[in-house]
């Protein structure tokens, strides 16, 4: 019988290339790292072939690690909220621009990301440093007496992360918002909704794929944004990812691997929460 492949197997084929690439070049190394994370840290080798749970046990029992995890979660939450609060209006604005305007805006926001984080941090130092723009103009105006260091603080890290992550949020949201048919807003108006309520009840839920995408990108990037955190936070404000790098500099690969998995698990949990809260699939009429 010359029955052809049904459409679903074609769909299956579509999933194959990413599965294969990631399987070979992500899952395989990851499995190896998982194995490593259960080995003992070694002074004479990458790791010693002695199975142990200590690398994980440490993370979830030690109060210092717990503090770092709490701090990581808190800063992620704050960055997420700020990104959403600032990003949404901007995306809303961008979605109303012409296709060309949106394109230009997209570029304006993406191009700075191409500059190395290290260099961008110089920008921040030049702005926030003790002798930076803010400090010197404030002293100039006489608002503060002595130059103040705005760097190496929670605020600096948040600000730094915002500058890098906002574009991801804005572009995700803009993509989503532009696809929403205006007739839905019109329908809401016809039902007596004020613009604000029409936004809350219709536009916002219909943009949930964009919100989910934006939030996920921002979460994942915040969790792994080592360079920005290190440059703007300094050693006083370390997050989980900083500890991964500290483990590497001290040649403790098993521990670095274990911390990485902890990070991965936290990220995936947050991703699941985002998925559950934002429910991007409801746009297609599924609860």
């Amino acid at each position: 019988m010359n029955r052809v492949l049904p459409a679903s197997s074609l769909l299956y084929a579509v999933a194959l290339p990413p599965l294969v690439i990631l399987g070979l070049f992500f899952v395989v190394p990851l499995c190896y790292l998982l194995f490593v994370s259960f080995m003992t840290n070694s002074g004479t080798s990458l790791f010693d072939l002695e199975p142990t749970l200590i690398n994980y046990a440490e993370i979830f029992t030690d109060s210092f690690y717990l503090l770092i995890i709490r701090r990581t979660l808190l800063s992620t939450a704050i960055v997420l909220i700020l990104c959403l609060l600032i990003g949404y209006p901007v995306a809303f604005y961008a979605a109303r621009l012409s296709a060309r305007g949106r394109m230009i805006m997209l570029m304006v926001m993406m191009v700075p990301l191409m500059v190395s984080n290290v260099v961008r941090a110089y920008g921040w130092v030049a702005i926030l440093g003790r002798r930076g723009l803010v400090s010197s103009s404030l002293t100039g105006v006489g608002l503060i007496e002595r130059p103040v260091q705005y760097l190496y603080s929670f605020e600096a890290v948040t600000l730094g992360l915002l500058t890098i992550l906002l574009p991801f949020m804005i572009v995700s949201l803009t993509n989503s918002l532009t696809t929403i048919d205006t007739r839905y807003t019109e329908a809401a108006y016809s039902l007596g909704a004020s613009p604000w309520r029409a936004f809350l009840r219709v536009t916002l839920p219909l943009s949930s794929p964009g919100i989910a995408s934006g939030l996920m990108l921002v979460t994942f990037l915040t969790l792994s944004a080592y360079v920005t955190i290190a440059l703007l936070g300094g050693p006083r404000y370390k997050l989980l990812v900083s500890l991964v790098f500290d483990s590497v500099t001290t040649f403790r690969w098993p521990r670095a691997a274990a911390l990485s998995f902890a990070l991965l698990i936290i990220a995936l949990i947050i991703a699941v929460i985002i998925q559950l809260v934002v429910r991007p699939n409801r746009v297609q009429g599924k609860g």
């Binding site: 769909l11 299956y12 290339p17 990413p18 599965l19 690439i21 990631l22 070049f25 992500f26 395989v28 600032i86 209006p89 901007v90 604005y93 012409s98 296709a99 060309r100 949106r102 394109m103 230009i104 997209l106 570029m107 304006v108 926001m109 993406m110 990301l113 191409m114 500059v115 190395s116 984080n117 290290v118 260099v119 110089y122 030049a126 930076g132 723009l133 600000l159 915002l162 500058t163 906002l166 574009p167 804005i170 572009v171 995700s172 993509n175 929403i180 613009p195 989910a212 995408s213 990108l217 792994s224 790098f245 590497v248 670095a256 691997a257 990485s260 995936l268 991007p280 699939n281 297609q284």
Partner: protein, 260 residues
Amino acid sequence: MGAVFLRLIVGIALTLIMGPILVVLIVSFSSGDALVFPPPGFSLRWFVEFFGIAEMRNAFMLSIVLALTSACASALLGLLGAIYVSRNRNGLSTFLQMLIMAPLVFPALILGLALLLLYKTVNMSVLPGLFIAHVVVCLPYAFRAVLTSLQSFDTTLEEAGQSLGAGPVRSFMLITLPIIWPGVLSGWLFAFVVSFGELNTALFLTGPGIVTLPIEIFSYLQFQGNQLVVAAASALQVLIILFVLVLAERLVGAKQLVQR
């Protein structure tokens, strides 16, 4: 009132995003020796200096090529993955989604090490290895962007295409793709940007003589490298990429106008 508020936030956001880079851009034209803002005067000396460093030039070229190729590859793979995820709600779809997103958060340095070990065992040479690593790292961005668009795409349009005799591939190319094009484009841009700035995975994967620009900059700054040279390099980077983008927009952008 609302409009003013909106503009204000747009202004704030653009300032945040552009601020530090603008400072660096302006400072790169400094005539002074140190990175201070505002600069004491203006000159092009740091650009001249930059061009004198062969390693920087080579790294810049490598990074551009790498970013272009890996952005294309990730956009393609991300598109494929997003198609599957948006059309299926099963275990594999959830798994695939998580799998594609995972490299985003897994500390790249560690991933780089594991990849290096893998490459050593299969004897992969440096350039393809670097390319694959970039694809793995950029894929999540491209994937998410495309998925966003696909989730709001009305699939009856594809059915219409099939009823007109277009196979699934053709209806995808001729109907779905043009409509979700902005999503694919921003996915590609995401990937390009990320690849271009990717530092940590590549730390382990670069080889003697094969260095990407972020690493070159990073190492240059390791030991009393002049920050202004790096600022000039960055400024140049931004200008060249802006130029390419504007050119691309001129070439393909007009087609976009009617889309909504």
